[in-house]
Symmetry: C2
Subunit: 292 residues, 2 copies
């Protein structure tokens, strides 16, 4: 069983990005600049944004964190987005979700200019990727395809089964893996809460992706011997023995599933770090498009 070490791989890719940034600087170009909008003080959001800012520093990107109070109005937030859209020194930006209930997240999302939408959530980018055109791929699906690629896990002709049809993971991943591309050409089955006889489907998977957000949902009896298993889950479960009082749990019951797999991602240290590094890749792409 091969452990797909997203943490180590993400460090390698960060080193490659850093080299690219240095090349840009040597030729008189600006460092890629990522801005992040954070509203309120949700613990998870603070952590995630913190990781992203830190990752920017590691690779020589410029980063700007715009942190607003929970009670910012929707109009004020939309104005901030317009400002970032117009700011030529910012190559890409993200709005950390979730947003407070009084703000229409879809409205906010649609306000981001697609050329700066490095999260790849805007319909223009989703549509372009769906049609096989260039655009920003959202970070988690991009990270997973990069992980498979770097570990030389062939997708062409393989049966990939994805559990979970979210707009940020399962859905775009189902599109990427079945597209005509080097990290695609798989036969893809997309499963979700309404799927019947789930285990009989997951047992057919050569590559099995759990992205439903239910800790330890995927058990050994659902996995074919020799399958590749990708665990996208990151649920915080209480753990009094941890300093923080919680720890991350994946969607896969790792201890019993891992022995059956040819390869598997751990949680933490699998998909998570690849997601952060994908955001950096998108921001680098945005900078190169704006200032080639």
């Amino acid at each position: 069983m091969l452990l797909l070490d997203g943490k180590k791989l993400s460090e390698e890719i960060k080193a490659e990005i850093k080299t690219q940034v240095e090349k840009r600087l040597l030729t008189g170009k600006s460092a890629p600049h990522l801005a992040a909008i954070l509203v309120g003080n949700d613990g998870g959001s603070l952590t995630y944004v913190g990781h992203k800012v830190k990752a920017c520093e590691q690779v020589g990107f410029r980063s700007t964190l715009l942190h607003f109070q929970e009670n910012i109005t929707q109009d004020a937030l939309l104005k901030e987005i317009e400002r970032l859209n117009a700011d030529n020194t910012v190559h890409g930006f993200i709005v950390q979700l979730p947003l407070p209930a009084h703000i229409d997240a879809t409205r906010v999302l649609l306000h981001i200019h697609p050329s700066k939408d490095v999260d790849g959530f805007h319909p223009v980018n989703v549509g372009r990727i769906t049609l096989g055109m260039p655009g920003f791929v959202s970070a988690t699906p991009l990270g997973i395809t990069r992980l498979l690629e770097r570990y030389a896990i062939q997708t062409a002709g393989k049966h990939c089964v994805i559990i979970g049809r979210s707009n940020i993971v399962g859905r775009p991943l189902s599109i990427l893996l079945s597209s005509q591309s080097a990290t695609g050409n798989a036969t893809v089955t997309l499963c979700h809460s309404r799927t019947q006889n789930l285990a009989s489907i997951t047992r057919q998977a050569d590559i099995l992706i759990a992205a439903l957000g239910k800790p330890e949902f995927l058990t050994a009896n659902m996995v074919k011997e020799g399958a590749v298993v990708i665990d996208v889950g990151t649920t915080r479960v209480p753990d009094p023995s941890a300093k923080t009082g919680w720890r991350l749990k994946g969607d896969v019951k790792f201890d019993e599933v891992a022995p059956k797999c040819s390869a598997i991602t751990p949680v933490p240290g699998g998909v998570g770090p690849m997601t952060v590094v994908s955001l950096l890749l998108n921001t680098l792409q945005a900078a190169q498009q704006a200032d080639p």
Copy 2:
């Protein structure tokens, strides 16, 4: 075995659309107006555009056919599209494909304003539909979901297998059928030219959609007893006994597959007429959005 009569159903839906148009006219609103751009004299394209114009007449729509010579320049074509984008009397328009080789079809497509893109091919519409937002669904997938709906064929929890990942049929249909909607919630497997052991997958399908464009590809041994089979193929094969010298063949070997099915679409008279009527539904939607 139930024959899914797309021709009859399309006539029923056309009658419903006609009633909607009459209601619009009674309240002083304009008739929906569809324009079609046709370049050159490809036989198939002439026939398809002819069907669309005729269908407009049947339901009381206004229609305009802009027929250009094969040698029209790309710039001139883009100017025509700009004119249609700006023309408030045109609610929606389509560019009949294929276009001559000297014209970049993607460039042309991207030039159509998404609010008038009643073919649903623009990335903005594809992205919106992928994300579950309102937008124009391309005509063939929309026609198929309408056909299933009207014949009360449940998709929720069913295993739908689609053969063919084209941007105009297989791909968007895979998204629709797996979405959270009344005609979705299916477990969807998308198969294509790189799929291995295809028959072992298609035999699992409760609903099987053949959209690969290979006449009589799907044979009885690939179909589960009691399945619903939807045939999207429309290949013209030579037939000396026909007046035209050809006849339409579907992707399904109908004679041997039909007896195994609980329901099946014929070719012609199945998906084809539903596609044309879906274009009318999209044009009506465009008119109602422009002039509610």
